[in-house]
C-alpha cells in the first residue's frame, strides 16, 4: 500500500559507507499490539497462548518467539506483541474474541512505533553511548528485553540471537532517534539498509 | 566594636594586623534568653540583627548546629531580584531589595551587593507571555522591570547565542536592572557582626535536638550543649525546617530537596550580568573572583545529603554550552549541593504556629538568599509583636488550609 509511511521513511541515509561498523535496518509495518491482562489468571494466559501459538513470557524482561510472532514482556501485566505486517487487526480481533469478558486490554500501536535493528562490529559501543542500560552480554543476554533510555528518549531493547539489537522506538521521536544515531555512529561508520 | 574602613585597614597594617578584634564573640550559652533563633544562616542572623536593632530585644541567642552561614547561605548562586509575579511576593522581595541598597553601610560590612542586573530569558511563546505579564505587574507595583527583545538581550550579553535556528532560541527576556548578586558569606558575617555588636549571643556547633513545649507554649530548646530556656523560639532552619518542626510535633508543607550549583575556574571578566533561563534550565553569573557561578536544577527526590545526582549537572551544562558556546572549553572546578525547603506554592512561610511563642520562617526553597534582609526584617517584627508584619501576613501557614496560595511556580520556575 503506497499510503503507508513508516516513521523513518524520509531519513536520508548517509552516502554509501565502505567501512560501516554500525548497520541500521528498519523492520517496517510490523503489527504492534499492546496487551494487558493478569498473568496469574490461567483463563487469560491460556486464551492468549491459543491465539498466538506461544505462551506469554511472564519472567521480567523476557521474550518469546514463534514464527513471525514475538512477545516482549513489558511489565507484570503488559506485553508487546509483534506480529506480521497487516495481521494486527486480525490478531486483535482474535484476542478480543478469545478474551471476551475478561479484564484485559488490547491496543493497536502499529503506527505509533517502529522496529529498528542495530548490528555491526561496533554496535556495542554505540549502545554504550546511547543508553544507560548495561547492554553487555552478561547482563543483556540473548532474548532479553528491557525498556530503558535511549539518549534523551526511551526504547524497548531486545537482544537478538545474532548479537544485534532490536529496538522499538516511538514514532514522534524517530527523527530525533536517527539524528542521535547518525551522530553517535559517525566515528564507526553507519550504513542504513 | 571598631568601625571598619580603609583608614582602619591602614592603621592595622602598621601593626601587622595583630590588633584586630573578633568580628563576633563565641560565648557560652546563657541559661535562658528572651528569644532563641534556631539557625544561623543569613535569615536567622538578619532576624537577630533587626530584633535587636529595631525592636530593642537584645537578650537573644542564635544557635547554629554548624558554622554561621554554612547552610544554604553558603551554597547559593546569590541572585538578588524582586521581579516576582504576585503582589504579595513581589512586595516582600522588593522590601528586601530596598534593604540591600545601603546594607553594607548599615552593617559597616561590605556585602558586595553588585546591582549588575538580572535577566530571565524566554524561549517559547508562553515564556514570553509570562514575561510580559510579570513585567507589567512589576511595573505597576513600582518594581524595576522591562521586557527585552532578542537584540536587546544581545546588547547586554554580547556572548549569548542569539541564533534563532537553535532548539530553544532566545526570544526575549525580562530584565531587572536593579537586581544583581552579593557576596553570600559577607551577608551572613555582616549580620552576625552587627547582631553580636548589639549583644546577641551567636552560639555555633550547637544543634537543637528538641523544642520543649509545655502547655502549648514553648519554654526552650534542648541542644547538644544542654537545655537553653526561651520565651520565644524562632526557627529559621531552611532545609531542616521539617526536622525541627517535628521536634514540636508540627508538620510543615515542605519537602527538602538537593539543589546543586557549580563554579568554573576563575577567568577574566566575560559576563557582566546575571542570566537565567528556566526553560532550558541554566543560571549563570560571574563572581568577583572570576569563576562562573552556575545553578543547576533541583533533584526530584527528598535529600538532606547536600549533594545531588550527576545527570542534573549534565543537563545544566549542556544548556549552558547551548546558550554560551564559548563556555564549552571552560572547566568546572567544583560542584556542590544545598538542601532547599520547597513549598507547594514556591513561596515562603513566615508564621506563628499553634504552639505559643514558636515561630517559623522557612520554605524559601530555591530562592531565599535575595530575601535575606527583608526576611529577617519582617520576621523580627512577627516575633517581636507576636503578630505578622503586614508584608508577611499573606505568608502564614494557614494558607494551606484556606487555599490562599500564592503560586509563584508558573512565572518563576525554579525561583532563584
Amino acid at each position: 500500500m503506497t499510503s503507508l509511511k513508516t516513521p523513518l521513511h524520509h531519513i536520508t541515509a548517509p552516502a554509501h559507507v565502505t567501512n560501516a561498523n554500525v548497520i541500521m535496518r528498519e523492520d517496517p509495518f510490523r503489527g504492534h499490539l499492546n496487551l494487558r491482562g493478569n498473568p496469574q489468571d490461567e483463563a487469560f494466559t491460556r486464551a492468549v497462548a491459543k491465539v498466538l501459538g506461544v505462551a506469554l513470557p511472564t519472567q521480567p524482561n523476557s521474550s518469546a518467539e514463534q514464527g513471525t510472532t514475538r512477545i516482549y514482556w513489558l511489565c507484570p501485566n503488559e506485553w508487546l506483541l509483534l506480529v506480521a505486517a497487516d495481521t494486527q487487526a486480525q490478531v486483535e480481533a482474535d484476542l478480543r474474541d478469545a478474551l471476551a469478558g475478561q479484564h484485559v486490554a488490547v491496543t493497536d500501536q502499529s503506527s505509533g512505533q517502529t522496529l529498528v535493528n542495530l548490528s555491526g562490529p561496533q554496535v556495542d559501543d554505540l549502545m554504550m553511548k546511547s543508553t544507560v542500560y548495561d547492554c553487555h552480554p552478561s547482563n543483556l543476554g540473548i532474548g532479553k528485553v528491557v525498556q530503558t533510555t535511549f539518549a534523551k528518549t526511551g526504547a524497548i531493547i531486545h537482544k537478538c540471537a545474532d548479537g544485534s539489537f532490536d529496538l522499538v522506538i516511538r514514532r514522534s521521536f524517530s527523527d530525533y532517534f536517527f539524528l542521535w544515531l547518525a551522530d553517535a555512529s559517525q566515528e564507526y561508520g553507519l550504513r542504513v539498509t | 566594636m571598631k568601625k571598619y574602613s580603609g583608614f582602619s585597614l591602614f592603621k592595622h597594617s602598621l601593626k601587622h594586623h595583630e590588633d584586630w578584634q573578633k568580628a563576633w564573640r563565641s560565648p557560652r550559652p546563657k541559661k535562658s534568653y528572651d528569644v532563641i533563633i534556631v539557625g544561623g544562616g543569613g535569615h536567622g542572623l538578619a532576624t537577630a540583627y533587626y530584633l535587636a536593632k529595631e525592636h530593642g530585644i537584645t537578650n537573644i541567642a542564635v544557635v547554629e548546629k554548624g558554622y554561621l552561614g554554612g547552610g544554604n547561605t553558603a551554597r547559593n548562586t546569590t541572585i538578588v531580584r524582586s521581579n516576582y509575579l504576585w503582589d504579595e511576593a513581589s512586595k516582600l522581595y522588593d522590601h528586601a531589595l530596598d534593604l540591600w541598597y545601603g546594607l553594607s553601610q548599615d552593617l559597616n560590612y561590605n556585602v558586595m551587593f553588585s546591582s549588575r542586573g538580572v535577566m530571565n530569558l524566554g524561549h517559547n511563546l508562553q515564556d514570553m507571555r509570562d514575561i510580559e505579564r510579570r513585567v507589567n505587574a512589576n511595573r505597576l507595583n513600582g518594581i524595576d522591570a522591562a521586557v527585552l527583545n532578542t537584540q536587546e538581550v544581545k546588547e547586554i550579553v554580547p556572548i549569548i547565542n542569539d541564533s534563532q535556528d537553535i532548539r530553544y532560541p532566545v526570544l526575549g527576556a525580562s530584565w531587572q536592572k536593579t537586581g544583581g548578586v552579593a557576596r553570600h558569606d559577607a551577608v551572613a558575617w555582616g549580620f552576625a557582626r552587627g547582631a553580636d555588636q548589639l549583644g546577641v549571643d551567636l552560639i555555633q556547633q550547637c544543634e537543637v535536638t528538641d523544642i520543649v513545649v509545655e502547655q502549648g507554649a514553648v519554654t526552650g530548646v534542648q541542644t547538644n550543649q544542654g537545655f537553653i530556656g526561651a520565651k520565644k523560639v524562632a526557627c529559621v532552619t531552611a532545609g531542616n525546617s521539617g526536622v525541627v518542626a517535628a521536634m514540636a510535633g508540627i508538620r510543615l508543607p515542605l519537602e527538602s530537596h538537593p539543589l546543586q550549583a557549580l563554579v568554573s575556574e576563575p577567568i577574566k571578566p566575560i559576563i557582566d550580568t546575571v542570566v537565567m533561563s528556566n526553560a532550558v534550565h541554566a543560571y549563570v553569573s560571574q563572581s568577583d573572583k572570576g569563576d562562573l557561578v552556575i545553578g543547576a536544577g533541583i533533584d526530584s527526590y527528598n535529600g538532606y545529603g547536600q549533594r545531588g545526582s550527576f545527570h542534573v549537572v549534565e543537563h545544566t551544562l549542556s544548556a549552558i554550552c547551548e546558550l554560551f558556546p564559548m563556555f564549552s572549553r571552560v572547566r568546572m572546578n567544583r560542584a556542590w549541593g544545598g538542601v532547599v525547603d520547597t513549598c507547594p506554592d514556591a513561596c515562603p512561610i513566615i508564621s506563628k504556629t499553634r504552639v505559643d511563642g514558636l515561630y517559623f520562617n522557612c520554605g524559601w526553597g530555591t530562592g531565599g538568599f535575595k530575601a535575606t534582609p527583608g526576611s529577617g526584617h519582617v520576621f523580627a517584627h512577627t516575633v517581636a509583636h507576636d503578630e505578622p508584619h503586614p508584608l508577611a501576613k499573606p505568608f502564614t501557614i494557614d494558607r494551606f488550609n484556606t487555599g490562599h496560595l500564592i503560586d509563584e511556580h508558573g512565572a518563576a520556575g525554579v525561583a532563584h
Binding site: - | 585597614l9 564549552s328 572549553r329 507547594p344
Partner: protein, 999 residues
C-alpha cells in the same frame, strides 16, 4: 635557548622526537613524552605566572594534579583554554602557551609593586572592611577588582570541538594505575570479571614511572610496562589512560573524563576531543596515591622552590634537573631519595636539611655515603631571592619543630626541594559524604567510613612502601572480584626512619611579621592570613577557608589545605583531627563544561517530536512553534504576507469555507476495562456514567488543590472502552497522574491505560464546508447533521482508510477530526487537502487555532490558566458534576475559605473600546488607570488577538470578581505609556448560541 636543564639520558622522553612550542611568544624545544612543565623546566623557564592578589612571581612547583602555580593560557583564538596546568599538559608540536596574569608580562610585572606596597593593606577579607563609601562607588571598585581577579581568558568564539559520553558498567572499577592500582587490576582481571582501570596520566605506572626501585627483581618501570601490557591484552579489562575520575557519586557511580586528543593538538582532527565515561561499578578500588605536602616557610613561593617528589619525577621521568644547586628540606626519608637522584644526575646537593634531630637508616646512610651534607634538626626558615631562589636560610630548630634555636645560615642555591610528608588522595572517597579521618601514625587524613562498595589500596590508605602498595592492591583487587590473591611482591629493602609531622616552619620573627609564609599559592593565603582569620573569630575550618579563600583555587588546596588546617589547629589549641578538613567535592581536577554537556547540545539538546505530517508542513512553508517537545506548525505564510495577514487568511478560510490543522500532538490515552467510567468520574470534574458509545464529552481535570490542570475530550468507544485526549504539553503528565491513581489508590478498579498518542494521526478540519469535504472521502458513514451530531464519533472509511471520525470542534465551526493510524497520516492529510481543494481548504497553524478558539471563549490550559484557577473561576461551572457519588479529584478544595470566595479572579472576555486595538497579552488590568504606582491590579490579559471575522480585537483575561463586572470598563496601562481600555464581556465572542458547530 637550549634545553640546558635536560639530562643527556634517562627518562621516558624520546630525544629523537623534538617538539617545538611557544611560551609567552618565544619558541622553545622539548621532546615527545614531555609535559609542558618538564619542557619549560628543561629550558630553564622560571617564572610561569603571577599570583592573583600580590602579583608575586611564581614558578612550577609540582608535577601533576597538585600544581597550583603553573596555570596556562593554552592556545589562541577559538581553541584557547584558560587555566590548564603546565604539569598536566602533554607537549605536542606547535603548542602555544602564555601566562594568565602579569602586566606587561609575567616575568616583568608592574602589578608586583602594587602587591608589594599595597599588600600590607590586603589581609584576608580586606574588601569586607572597605570600599563602602560612597555607596554608589562600589560598582566602580568592583570593576577594578574583577579585572584584577581571574586567571585565563575564555574564548569569545564557539568551541570548535565536540565531546561525547559512554555509559559503562563493571564489576570492579579501579581508580589509579600506580603499583596499587595495577596490582589490583591484575588480580581482578584474571578472574574474568569486568574491570575498568583508569589513570589520569598518559601512561600507567603512577609513581613507578619515576622510581629507581625494583619489583620482584625487575626495574619498577619495566614491571609497570609489563603489567600494563598484560592488562591491555585482557578482553575483560578496559584500560583508560589519560582518564581522570573526577567524581564519585552515590551508589558507586563514577564520572571519568578521558582526554582523547589533547596530547595531539588543541582540537581533535576527527571524532570527539574528550569523552566522559559514566561508570556504574559494583565494587570500587581507590588507588589514587598520595600527594606530597610542602612546608610553609617564609618566601616559600619563590620560583625554584619545588616539591621534592616532583623534582625527583622531573629528573627520573623527564630527564630534567630543575636546578644546579639544590637544598632539600625534608621531614621524612623521601627527601633523601630526591637528593640521591639529583646527585646521580650530576648536580649538586648543597645540603639535606632534615627537621628530624636524629634521622638514621638506609637512605640517610646512602646520602652520607654519597657525600651529601645532612643537617639534622634544621629547617629552611626562609628563601631569599628576587623572582627566583638564590639562597636558603637554614636554622636549627627545637625538637618539636616550633622554634628557631640558633642563628640562621645562608646557603646559596637555585633550587629548594621540600618534602613535608604525604597527603593521601582522599578526594573521591569524600564525594559521597564520607569524612576523612586523621591517622596519627601517618600524620595524614585517610578515607573514613563510607556506604559505598569501596576498597582502598596503597598510598591513599597511608601505605607508602611500594611492596605495601602492591600487596594491598593485590588484596583489594582480589577482594573486589571476590577471589583469592594470586601475585606476591618483593621490592627489596624499603625500611625507613619515622617521619616527623611538620607544617609551619618557625621563623625568627612571629608569623605576623615574618616575610610571607604561603599556605595556598593560588589565592595568596599565608600563615599570617590564617592567624588573622582565627584572631577575628573565624574558627571553624570552613570559616577559615571562606574568609581566606584557602583551597578555593583550581587546585582545590591539594597541597595547601592540610597545612592550613594544621596551622588553624595550632592557633586554636586544637588537634588537627578536631579541626577537621573542609569538604572535598567534585571535580577532582577541573572538567571541561563541553564534556559534561556531551552531545546534548544543538539539535540534540532536547528531542524534537514530529507528527506524521511533518514533512508536508515543511514542504508547505510552515513556521513552527515549540509546544513542549513538539514542533507544531505555527502558521503558513505565503510569499509577501505579514504574520497578521496570514492569520487573517487562515482564520477567514475556516470561518467561510474550510481549514485544517494537524492535531496529532494532542495526548491520547486508550482506556479499557469495566471500571473505566468510574475511573473517569473520579479524575474528571464531570460525569461520564452515561456517556454512550459513539459519543464524546469534554472534561476538566484538577489537581487535589482544586485548580485546573488539564482538559480534553473523551470519546466512548465501547461500553468499557474510552479514548481520552489531553493537551499537547500535558500528555505525559496526565498519563503518569492517571497511572498513579490507578496503581496506588485504586488498584481495585479494572482499568488499563495505554498511551496511543503516537499511533494516531489527527487531521482536524473545520468550517462550513467541512462536511462537503468529508462527503467526498467517506461514503460509509451517514454524515447528515441528524445522524452524526456534534460531539458524536463514528468509525468509517475515509479516503479508503479505516478511520475514527470525531465531530468535535475547537473553532466553533462544523468540524471533524479524522484519526487514522499514523502510518497513513500523511496520506490522509494529502487526501483531505486534495478533496478540499475546490473549497480552498487552507492549512492553519496553532496561532490561527488560538484565535478561532478565543473567538469562542475556549480556554487553553497553561495560557489562560496558571494553576491558580478553579473551574468556577474559569466560568466553567457547567462542567463540574454536582451530584457525582465519588468526591472527584480536587473537589473538596472548592469549599475551602479562599477557593469558595465569590470575588476571586475570574476568566472573562475583554472587548477593546477601540475596536482596532489588540491589547498586548500579559497586560495588567486596572480599574483606575490614574492611580499612582503601586496600582491595584485586577488581573491580566491571558489571550489576545485580532479577530478578522469580527473586525475587532478580542481578549480573554482574569479579572477580580470579573463574573460580576460584565459591562464594566477596565484599563491596561502599557509600558510605553499608552492606556488601553476594554469592556468586560462574555468570553464567547463568536456565535454565542453555538449554532454553527451544531449545524
Amino acid at each position: 635557548m637550549s634545553q640546558h636543564n635536560r639530562l643527556a639520558q634517562g627518562g621516558r622522553i624520546d630525544r629523537n622526537q623534538p617538539l617545538s612550542f611557544t611560551w609567552n611568544g618565544k619558541q622553545y624545544q622539548g621532546y615527545q613524552g614531555d609535559t609542558l612543565a618538564s619542557a619549560m623546566l628543561a629550558n630553564g623557564i622560571k617564572v610561569v605566572g603571577r599570583s592573583f592578589k600580590y602579583s608575586r612571581a611564581r614558578g612550577i612547583f609540582g608535577h601533576g594534579a597538585e600544581e597550583a602555580n603553573a596555570l596556562m593560557q593554552l592556545g589562541v583564538g577559538k581553541e584557547t583554554i584558560p587555566n590548564p596546568r603546565a604539569t598536566q599538559i602533554e607537549l605536542f608540536d606547535g603548542l602555544t602557551a602564555s601566562a594568565t596574569n602579569g602586566w606587561p608580562n609575567a616575568d616583568f610585572d608592574l602589578m608586583e609593586w602594587v602587591g608589594k606596597i599595597g599588600g600590607k593593606m590586603m589581609p584576608p577579607g580586606f574588601y569586607y572592611k572597605t570600599f563602602m563609601w560612597p555607596e554608589k562607588m562600589w560598582m566602580t571598585y568592583e570593576k577594578f577588582i574583577r579585572k584584577a581577579a581571574g586567571y585565563g581568558k575564555a574564548s569569545l568564539e564557539a568551541d570548535p570541538d565536540t565531546y561525547d559520553k559512554m555509559n559503562r558498567h563493571c564489576d570492579v572499577m579501579i581508580v589509579g594505575a600506580g603499583p596499587a592500582g595495577l596490582a589490583a587490576a591484575l588480580e581482578a582481571g584474571r578472574t574474568g570479571k569486568r574491570v575498568i582501570l583508569a589513570d589520569e596520566q598518559n601512561e600507567f605506572g603512577g609513581s613507578l614511572l619515576a622510581s629507581g626501585q625494583t619489583i620482584n627483581d625487575q626495574p619498577a618501570v619495566e614491571w609497570a610496562e609489563a603489567a600494563a601490557a598484560e592488562l591491555a591484552a585482557m578482553e575483560n579489562v578496559i584500560c583508560l589512560p589519560r582518564t581522570t575520575v573526577f567524581g564519585y557519586y552515590d551508589h558507586n557511580f563514577l564520572g571519568a573524563l578521558e582526554r582523547r586528543t589533547d596530547h595531539q593538538g588543541m582540537t581533535a582532527q576527527s571524532g570527539t576531543r574528550q569523552r566522559i565515561h559514566r561508570i556504574r561499578a559494583h565494587q570500587v578500588v581507590l588507588a589514587t596515591g598520595a600527594i606530597e605536602r610542602p612546608l610553609v616557610f617564609a618566601n616559600n613561593d619563590l620560583p625554584g622552590v619545588m616539591l621534592s617528589g616532583s623534582v625527583a619525577t622531573y629528573v627520573n621521568r623527564y630527564g630534567v634537573v630543575p636546578g644546579n644547586r639544590c637544598v632539600v628540606m625534608t621531614t621524612n626519608d623521601s627527601g633523601y631519595q630526591t637528593a640521591l637522584d639529583i646527585v646521580a644526575a650530576g648536580r649538586t646537593v648543597v645540603a639535606i636539611v632534615d627537621v628530624r634531630h636524629n634521622p638514621e637508616g638506609r637512605l640517610v646512610d646512602a646520602a652520607r655515603e654519597a657525600g651529601i651534607t645532612v643537617k639534622p634538626g634544621h629547617a629552611i626558615i626562609e628563601a631569599k631571592g628576587n623572582k627566583q631562589v638564590t639562597d636558603a636560610m637554614v636554622a636549627p630548630i627545637d625538637i618539636e619543630g616550633d622554634k628557631v634555636t640558633g642563628q640562621p645560615m645562608s646557603m646559596s642555591c637555585d633550587l629548594i626541594a621540600v618534602a613535608g610528608g604525604w597527603s593521601p588522595v582522599v578526594h573521591l572517597s569524600c564525594h559521597t559524604g564520607s569524612r576523612p579521618q586523621w591517622n596519627d601514625e601517618v600524620a595524614a587524613f585517610v578515607p573514613g567510613p563510607t556506604l559505598q562498595q569501596q576498597h582502598l589500596a596503597g598510598a591513599i590508605d597511608g601505605e607508602y612502601s611500594t611492596a605495601g602498595a602492591l600487596t594491598a592492591g593485590a588484596q583489594m583487587g582480589a577482594k573486589a572480584a571476590a577471589s583469592e590473591v594470586h601475585n606476591q611482591y618483593d621490592c627489596g629493602d624499603e625500611s625507613i626512619c619515622p617521619a616527623q609531622a611538620m607544617y609551619l616552619v618557625p621563623h625568627t620573627k612571629p608569623v605576623s611579621r615574618a616575610p610571607k609564609q604561603f599556605v595556598d599559592f593560588q589565592n595568596d593565603v599565608t600563615a599570617a592570613g590564617i592567624e588573622l582569620a582565627n584572631r577575628e573569630g573565624f574558627e571553624s575550618i570552613e570559616h577559615v577557608k571562606r574568609y581566606t579563600a584557602m583551597g578555593f583555587g583550581t587546585d582545590q588546596g591539594k597541597t595547601g589545605n592540610i597545612n592550613g588546617m594544621a596551622i588553624t589547629a595550632k592557633n586554636l589549641g586544637k588537634t588537627i583531627a578536631e579541626t577537621g578538613t573542609t569538604i572535598f567535592r567534585p571535580a577532582y581536577t577541573p572538567v571541561t563544561f563541553g564534556a559534561i554537556g556531551g552531545r546534548d547540545i544543538g539539535e540534540l539538546l532536547d528531542p524534537a517530536r514530529h507528527t506524521a505530517m511533518h514533512s508536508w508542513h515543511l514542504d508547505n512553508g510552515a513556521l513552527f512553534e515549540n509546544v513542549g517537545q513538539w514542533k507544531r506548525p505555527w502558521y503558513y505564510p505565503k510569499a509577501g504576507e505579514s504574520m497578521q495577514q496570514t492569520l487573517n487568511r487562515e482564520c477567514m478560510a475556516v470561518r467561510r469555507s474550510v481549514g485544517m490543522v494537524d492535531a496529532s500532538t494532542l495526548g491520547k490515552i486508550d482506556i479499557q476495562g469495566k471500571d473505566a467510567r468510574e475511573f473517569l468520574n473520579r479524575v474528571y470534574t464531570n460525569a461520564f456514567s452515561k456517556l454512550a458509545p459513539g459519543k464524546c464529552r469534554y472534561g476538566l481535570m484538577l489537581k487535589e488543590d482544586g485548580m485546573v490542570f488539564d482538559d480534553g475530550v473523551t470519546a466512548c468507544l465501547g461500553d468499557n472502552h474510552f479514548l481520552m485526549t489531553t493537551t499537547t504539553g500535558g500528555a505525559a503528565g496526565v498519563m503518569s497522574w492517571l497511572e498513579m491513581w490507578l496503581q496506588t489508590e485504586w488498584p481495585e478498579l479494572e482499568v488499563y491505560l495505554t498511551s496511543v498518542t503516537d499511533h494516531w494521526a489527527t487531521c482536524s478540519f473545520s468550517g462550513p464546508n467541512a462536511r462537503k469535504v468529508l462527503e467526498k472521502l467517506c461514503d460509509d458513514v451517514d454524515l447528515s447533521a441528524e445522524a452524526f451530531k456534534f460531539m458524536d464519533w463514528r468509525e468509517g472509511t475515509v479516503a479508503g482508510i479505516k478511520a475514527r471520525i470525531f465531530r468535535i470542534s475547537f473553532t466553533g465551526e462544523l468540524a471533524y477530526e479524522v484519526n487514522v493510524p499514523a502510518n497513513q497520516g500523511l496520506h490522509m492529510w494529502q487526501q483531505i487537502m486534495a478533496a478540499g481543494e475546490e473549497f480552498d481548504i487552507t492549512p492553519y497553524g496553532t496561532e490561527t487555532m488560538h484565535v478561532l478558539r478565543a473567538e469562542k471563549g475556549y480556554i487553553i490550559v497553561g495560557q489562560d490558566t496558571d494553576g491558580s484557577l478553579t473551574p468556577q473561576d474559569c466560568g466553567m461551572h457547567w462542567v463540574v458534576g454536582k451530584n457525582k457519588e465519588f468526591s472527584f479529584l480536587g473537589k473538596r478544595s472548592f469549599t475551602r475559605p479562599d477557593t469558595s470566595r465569590d470575588d476571586r479572579k475570574h476568566l472573562v472576555g475583554l472587548k477593546p473600546t477601540d475596536p482596532t486595538v489588540v491589547i498586548p497579552e500579559g497586560s495588567q488590568i486596572v480599574a483606575d488607570p490614574t492611580q499612582p504606582i503601586p496600582m491595584d491590579m485586577l488581573g491580566h490579559v491571558t489571550s489576545s488577538y485580532w479577530s478578522e471575522c469580527l473586525g475587532h480585537g478580542i481578549a480573554l483575561g482574569t479579572v477580580k470578581a470579573g463574573h460580576h463586572k460584565t459591562g464594566d470598563t477596565v484599563y491596561f496601562p502599557l509600558a510605553d505609556g499608552r492606556v488601553l481600555a476594554a469592556e468586560i464581556c462574555s468570553p464567547v465572542f463568536y456565535d454565542p448560541k453555538g449554532e454553527r458547530h451544531h449545524d
